[in-house]
């Protein structure tokens, strides 16, 4: 009997030490969903090495044909607390508002963040991550301020502009922007155009609005939009654009200089990943700056001819936010909650990580403190692509100008309806203004049965 008792005791003791040992270096598993491998790269580089106890299960659902959003929607509608449902998920600019406005994303304060944690974030990026009531639900590590890129040679030849400061005066607001476009047309006999298309202008112009598309469940057509319609109509009728479209062959031909175009509205990523690789034909991945310049010179490209200015309005274009699954936050134990908070903190708020991201990849990050630190670092950021201009400084100034509060979950669909039902037919003279506006309203009403449209 004694033997048995001691055996049992020994077993109990052994078990208790074992379970203690497990508690000591307990691994938490977090499920992360995204539409690309970008965040996975950041996690592996900046998070996993310092947090070996937090295991990340990374799932990618590319958003071709809205596959990612549909996957998230159906998962969240049916079983948001299932093991395979995401704890933390990525939200792209096109649909971040849809999710922060829904009950699917958690209030970040529930994760243990405090409002002070967000103090140094760039306002536009914070605002876009808030729901209608101003609750912070998503955070970004990048900031994507936009600027106006222009061809220095064309500006000098036709407008007599030699410095970026002079150029900024030429595009200080939208009226001067159109005047400059007319001047350019006259000086070049209509050969050089101000922009490729109206769609390019829209990316910046939408930030001119005082209010977003929807206020208190009602469709709002901001007064600025009527000015926009007038402006685009003038530009179309006076032949001030190349009448192409964004992301088309015409657009890239403009970047290569084959179709002489003065201005492009592009954000941080647009400079590095769109304009630069398309500044001449035959630019391949992995080319050094010298090789790109040589290729551009050999093929009559535009490398080194670009300069950038803030342009008529501060705007932001694109970006990725991360949010936490509200259902998981509700059911998570303390360890898991802490792990979720830690992942979001390291990716989006931690100044050391953000600084590393900025230095390693040249990305423009979402913290003003880090941006300042990068600017103060006596690094040589003269960009040869911009003829020696320092792009970080201009983006830093532009970043705090954009008003992110006008963004809403309706934007993606309503922007496209505004373009197809109103802007394009009106500016091309297919409809008069009243019909165009009425058709646009009818289309919004048909798609959004729960909105008030007057």
């Amino acid at each position: 009997m004694k033997k048995l008792l001691s055996l049992v005791l020994a077993a109990v003791l052994l078990m208790s030490t074992m379970s203690f040992a497990v508690a000591e270096d307990e691994t938490v598993t977090l499920v992360v969903w995204s539409f690309s491998d970008e965040i996975d790269g950041l996690i592996q580089k900046y998070f996993t090495p310092t947090h070996p106890n937090i295991k990340i299960e990374y799932q990618i659902y590319p958003n071709d044909g809205n596959q990612y959003t549909q996957k998230v929607d159906s998962m969240m509608a049916a079983t948001p607390d299932a093991a395979e449902a995401p704890d933390v998920f990525a939200l792209e600019a096109a649909y971040v508002k849809k999710y922060v406005d829904s009950d699917y994303t958690a209030d970040l304060l529930d994760l243990g963040f405090t409002a002070d944690d967000f103090a140094s974030c760039i306002p536009a990026m914070l605002q876009i991550g808030q729901n209608e009531a101003g609750v912070q639900k998503g955070l970004a590590w990048q900031s994507t301020p936009g600027a106006l890129m222009y061809r220095a040679s064309l500006a000098e030849q036709y407008l007599g502009v030699t410095t970026p400061e002079e150029m900024q005066e030429k595009v200080a607001d939208w009226d001067t922007f159109v005047e400059t476009a007319e001047e350019l047309k006259d000086a070049s006999n209509g050969e050089v155009k101000m922009v490729i298309c109206g769609g390019d202008i829209w990316n910046a112009y939408q930030y001119q609005r005082a209010e977003g598309w929807v206020v208190d469940g009602k469709l709002v057509i901001d007064d600025q939009l009527y000015d926009y319609l007038d402006m685009l109509k003038t530009m179309e009728e006076d032949d001030l654009t190349h009448k192409g479209s964004t992301w088309s062959e015409t657009w890239y031909a403009g970047m290569r200089g084959e179709l002489p175009t003065l201005c492009f509205f592009l954000p941080t990523w647009g400079l590095h990943y769109t304009l630069k690789p398309n500044c001449a034909s035959g630019i391949a991945d992995g080319m050094t700056e010298e090789e790109m310049k040589a290729q551009s010179d050999a093929t009559g490209g535009t490398y080194g001819d670009w300069r950038m200015v803030a342009g008529p309005v501060g705007y932001s274009w694109g970006g990725t936010w991360v949010g936490a699954n509200a259902a998981k936050v509700k059911t998570a134990d303390e360890t898991k909650l802490a792990a979720m908070k830690e992942l979001i903190r390291v990716l989006t708020l931690d100044e050391d990580t953000l600084y590393k991201i900025a230095v390693d990849s040249g990305d423009f990050v979402s913290s003003n403190a880090v941006v300042e630190k990068v600017l103060n670092d006596d690094i040589d950021d003269a960009n040869p692509f911009l003829g020696g201009q320092a792009h970080y400084q201009i983006f830093a100034e532009a970043a705090n100008l954009a008003n992110g509060a006008i963004m809403s979950r309706y934007d993606e669909t309503i922007n496209s309806l505004f373009d197809t039902q109103c802007v394009t037919p009106y500016t091309k003279g297919e409809k008069d203004l009243d019909t165009a506006i009425a058709d646009f309203k009818a289309a919004v009403k048909t798609q959004f049965s729960d909105l008030v449209v007057e």
């Binding site: 159906s74 009448k243 015409t250 496209s416 197809t420 394009t424 058709d439 009818a442 048909t446």
Partner: protein, 322 residues
């Protein structure tokens, strides 16, 4: 059979010896039935139910209220936006389908009669049949993107070509012209499907008793007379089959208009399937309207198919009476 239980009772051991494999059959067909029930039959019933609810948005997809025929009434109320968009899309669909179907069936008939003609004896038939059928193998997505880039504005292959041949002075904006946009979609549908129709037609013509053609030739028929008096009347069932399948395919046309024109310009290439998609999967997610619209489309297809087959049947009876 009656004896079987008795023997089983008498010697239970005997039963074990005879192993029956019958029930394995059920296991083999089970995957199909499970997939069919979960992914086809259940969604059909689910759609029917959703059409009678107020399910707007993902939150209400499962948790909703039955509201009777209200959703359907909107589609027949000329003052509602849904009425306007739905029937406009329906009209577009019919126009695009007709401009694809008429050339498709004509071309398929001509090619089929050439390929089966005993007099012509075309060489390299296999190669031609394969080439003509080929567009059907390429996915619609690829074709939509290909044609979009071909006909883009202002710099694109077609515009450049037309300008170089001196047919155009300035580039033409194909996707802002209703006729051109619909024409391109109809052309793509025609180009993708005439090979398929042709193969079916050839099969139909080969099924005709050769003695009839020989008799016609002996009686001095011209090849035109053989086509109109012998071939055409005898492949009527095949024609009907083609008409019905093409109508169903045409009314549910989605991929090319969605990927290439997104309904532009001014909703003139918006099709019924595109309307259903945009109601259910964009905007407020009006699942109820999308479901009701699908059911109305389903009803129209059923009625059309029934009328067509009925028309054919009556003619057959009439022919027999003569």
């Amino acid at each position: 059979m009656q004896k079987a239980p008795a023997t089983a009772q008498a010697s239970p051991k005997k039963k074990r010896k005879g192993v029956s494999y019958d029930h394995y059959g059920y296991l083999f067909v089970a995957p199909f039935f499970i997939v069919f029930l979960v992914f086809q039959l259940y969604p059909i019933f689910f759609t029917f139910r959703t059409a009678f609810t107020d399910a707007i948005g993902w939150e209400k997809i499962l948790d909703n209220n039955l509201i009777g025929w209200d959703n359907f009434k909107l589609f027949f109320d000329p003052s509602s936006n849904l009425f306007v968009s739905y029937w406009r899309a329906f009209g577009n669909t019919i126009v695009i389908w007709l401009f694809n179907f008429v050339p498709q069936i004509s071309m398929a008939l001509i090619l089929a009669s050439w390929f089966t003609s005993g007099q012509m004896r075309l060489r390299g038939q296999g190669a031609f049949k394969m080439l003509i059928f080929m567009p059907n193998i390429i996915t619609a997505t690829t074709i939509a993107i290909l044609f979009f880039s071909l006909f883009s504005y202002p710099i694109a292959p077609v515009n450049t070509l037309l300008q170089q041949f001196g047919l155009l002075n300035l580039p033409f904006e194909f996707f802002r012209s209703t006729a051109a946009s619909r024409g391109i979609i109809s052309f793509i549908q025609w180009w993708m499907w005439y090979g398929n129709t042709m193969i079916i037609m050839i099969a139909g013509i080969m099924g005709i008793n050769p003695a009839l053609f020989e008799a016609g030739l002996v009686d001095g028929c011209s090849s035109r007379q053989i086509f109109w008096k012998i071939t055409l009347p005898l492949i009527k069932p095949i024609l009907l089959y083609n008409l019905v399948t093409s109508l169903v395919g045409g009314l549910t046309m989605f991929d090319i208009p969605q990927l290439m024109t997104q309904g532009n310009p001014n909703n003139t290439t918006d099709t019924v399937a595109r309307f259903i998609y945009s109601q259910g999967f964009t905007g407020s997610h009006n699942f109820n309207y999308a479901s009701a619209a699908s059911i109305i489309l389903f009803g129209i297809i059923v009625v059309c198919s029934f009328l067509l087959s009925q028309a054919m049947k009556d003619r057959d009876k009439g022919a027999k009476k003569k």
